[in-house]
Symmetry: C2
Subunit: 132 residues, 2 copies
């Protein structure tokens, strides 16, 4: 199948698929006319990458996962190690964002938001107020 069909079936734009081939993540066969030719298995792999990316794995991690995916003899512990590390990373990001949210939320709450020029948000950002 052509790249467009593979794109539709995997949920990845054609450009991205070509990019993945460029960086050697996933290669496809070529048809006689020079078009890339994708098998169902190729599409599986593309979708695998699509899911992994959307779960926050980097392309390099996808490369690892993909080789673990293809290797029928790998230990599940290997996979779990990568996923667990990624989980910790997600937790860190959530914590960080939650902190941000709280801080910015306080600033917004305290800003009357009218035509007057005095603004706690600007004051907060400029360090004028010592909050909490």
């Amino acid at each position: 199948m052509n790249i467009g069909t593979a794109a539709r079936q995997s949920g990845l734009p054609p450009k991205t698929i070509r990019y993945y081939e460029d960086i050697g993540l996933l290669t496809a066969d070529r048809a006689a006319n020079g078009y890339r030719d994708y098998s169902d298995e190729d599409v599986h792999r593309l979708r695998f990458v699509q899911r992994s990316r959307s779960l926050g794995f980097s392309v390099e991690e996808c490369r690892q996962l993909l080789s673990l995916y293809t290797d029928r003899h790998r230990a599940s512990a290997d996979v779990k190690a990568i996923a667990t590390e990624k989980l910790a990373e997600i937790d860190r990001k959530i914590a960080e964002l939650t902190g941000l949210r709280e801080m910015l939320g306080h600033l917004v709450e305290n800003c009357h938001g009218d035509a007057r020029p005095d603004c706690p948000i600007i004051d907060g950002l400029s360090g004028k107020t010592r909050d909490h």
Copy 2:
């Protein structure tokens, strides 16, 4: 004061400060020897940007905030609008990450993580299991 001192006082690396000047976010005077020369007010602005960036505002948003910061007659509503939009964005990100965390967490929980090759994480990523 020189860029290094301004860097220490603002919490931004010198490289970043030069970059900000490059893109016209913050310009500094020049001393006779060609060195950048920062006033205390410049440092205030740098720190303002540093805080805004660390709160998740993009550089372009910082440019807006900075002009609102400098403009003594702007309405606090203008600032609040930007901050509120950013707050919504942070909330969206948190929600997305929380979703990810949950999904990946399930996968990790169900993976025994030993030497055997069967692995629910890989199965989940490849779409083999229809969960919930």
